[in-house]
Symmetry: none
Subunit: 210 residues, 4 copies
DNA sequence: CCGTAAACGAGACGGTACGTCCTGTCTTCTA
DNA sequence: TAGAAGACAGGACGTACCGTCTCGTTTACGG
């Protein structure tokens, strides 16, 4: 008796036919995560994921056109909703420490690290994925960083012409660099060194930049 | 990347049989470079390179055990010998500008950019390649950076406890980050912004460089 | 091929629920015929027929459990009711000529020829279909042939021990043989040659075989 | 030291590279034959044959572009070299009896019967296969029949205007018809009936059929 | 006129097979 | 030995259909 489209939290925006099975979705993401954890990116094939999840291959392709798209969803799953960080009241350094510390923490999970490494590898093949990744992975994290800096500027902690974009390129660049090239580990101690380099001790009464 | 370390200046340490054909080597590296330029990493298969070079597949495997090893050789080929930069006499900023500028310049070549992107992608699958890449690609460039900083410290331009390693993570990290994720281009202007962030204007009456 | 034998002249033997839509039936048979005509047996998939008819796949399976069953119905549709031929009064040869001529005529329609070819192909996989085909396709045609021969025997044109079954194997065999193997066309001229071979001119004293 | 192409019974007409492995060939044909015998045409997939033979799928496609081409080779294998039958000295009927009897004999082997049925089914999809089949399967058998008739004509047993082609359509048509439609078995007794129909007893003065 | 029950469109689902591409190894012949 | 050629086992790709199954909606009929 309800001719109108449907309720607002409707999962199936006017779609007809049998709905996607949530269990299949979960099984697939679970299988993919397991494979990434146990055997790495190399072992992550669409075929293998389907087999491990006990699901038809078509059910994978129905959801994700490519391995990369699947990886983005695994990323989103593990990331939860990105929300802008509230001001801690302990200053910009503390805010950044929390912000980057969270990333470092997550990277301790092999599956998570492999997910990110795989995403980058896959994106080198696939411009669409690269774009998607910027939108879903890169930008949200940067946005949080911009928010922290904006709060600090408002609080008079940082100069209004603080070059956020470059600083974000520095910190995320450094983290990705270590993650992907592996010349050094991504640790909490590393975060501290980055923070010291970016926000040198005020030293004298006078501070760095007026 | 030679399959077996031969004697120093001896090209064929006592080996018997027909010598390797230099032309084959050149044809292969040329074919691989062309494929990277024209069709990207995705199209770079051992099979495809051999076919394009008009060479037997075995002749590829005889030289490089894997795609990654081939990529490293393409890198070395395009890079030439890495040599430590001489002091320019124009200060650390100028030295860094030249140093990073060279990298940015090279990246304008699509084939070159694709080579680096491919190397990283490949290394995510292949720990041996990752290690080799650190040794041949990452470290030599960092070493040059360390050299510049050491000269600047000796000249009294920088404090002896300047954190070179973190700064190098910043600059190379940022460049790789932009190259691999593609959220922004790697330009000369970007190098300038990095330099300004790392070496802020002295602020006081006296100007930076004596 | 109805899924369940309903009451005699009752279209919906006591059933409740929404009745089958005749238009769907027609659309399906039309779509299947078109596909057979235009793209042959290979393109005849249950999925494709449904799609072409703009009908749900389930609506196909509701009517026919298999491709073969559908083909039998297409055959029946195109064949109409098989009725025993009346004596023409022009003799057994004329009767046979009309009888086989009708078959040859129909085979000029590509869709029809493809229907028969498809039926045979499908029956090689499906014993049930083979049996059904004998019942609905093979036997009715043979029955008509037997009838003609019986009339001829009654009229004294043929000997009572004329071997109808073998003759029917000859004529239908030859037609199917040419249709399926394609080494020669099924033409009216071919019918004439068959008739001449089966019913040699009574000739004069001298006969074929010395 | 032999620059010229190679000996005349050379299996590899100037081909270079690793030669095809005979064992692979045998394994494949064996596997296909077994599948046809045990599970019929329906179970005959390129994939399944490869798996059963313990061979890579590519090794199947390297030899045969399609299931049909494989079937033709299985046919050839089982058929051996078709040679024109020598005159038996017992007359045309005896010759035909031997000739058709051989076919009937072979059809007692399920694998063989399934091979022929599959070939016809497959040919309905594939015009190239149909042509190949006429060339390799249909025509050689007909040729043998023509030869028998030619001998009989030479011996004065048959009239020079005996319509061989139609007779061959009759006998092979009837055999295929029974094989494919299955309304009756292909037996030696059936061959006798065909022979009686084609070559009625020479008749003495008195009545048509002995 | 209201409930039951089937038909209908849509499309998800577990499967099987398709035909192609690539990997890394091998075998053969020729230089 | 190198090199051209190409076979080989194996694995994954992405697609097409199979026959079955849920959905939400529509259409008869029988109470």
């Amino acid at each position: 008796m309800r001719p109108e489209p449907r309720g607002e939290d409707d999962k199936r925006g006017g779609r007809t036919g049998r709905p996607r099975d949530e269990a299949v979705q979960r099984a697939l993401i679970g299988a993919a995560t397991d494979l990434l954890r146990e055997r790495g990116y190399r072992a992550l094939s669409m075929e293998g994921v389907a087999a491990r999840a006990g699901v038809a291959k078509q059910s994978v392709y129905r959801r994700w056109p490519s391995k990369g798209a699947l990886l983005v969803d695994i990323y989103m799953e593990g990331m939860g909703e990105e929300s802008l960080p509230a001001a801690s009241g302990h200053g910009v350094i503390a805010d950044f420490r929390a912000y980057l510390g969270q990333t470092v923490e997550r990277l301790k999970d092999v599956a998570w690290a492999n997910t990110l490494r795989s995403l980058v590898a896959e994106a080198q093949n696939d411009p669409d994925l690269a774009a998607l990744m910027v939108e879903r992975v890169v930008e949200p994290r940067r946005q949080a960083g911009r928010h922290i800096v904006a709060q600090a500027i408002a609080a008079g902690e940082l100069s209004p012409d603080f070059d956020v974009e470059t600083v974000l390129d520095f910190v995320f660049g450094a983290i990705w660099y270590r993650l992907l090239l592996g010349h050094a580990a991504v640790t909490t101690e590393f975060v501290e060194r980055m923070l010291r380099q970016l926000f040198p001790a005020p030293v004298l009464p006078r501070r760095t930049k007026g």
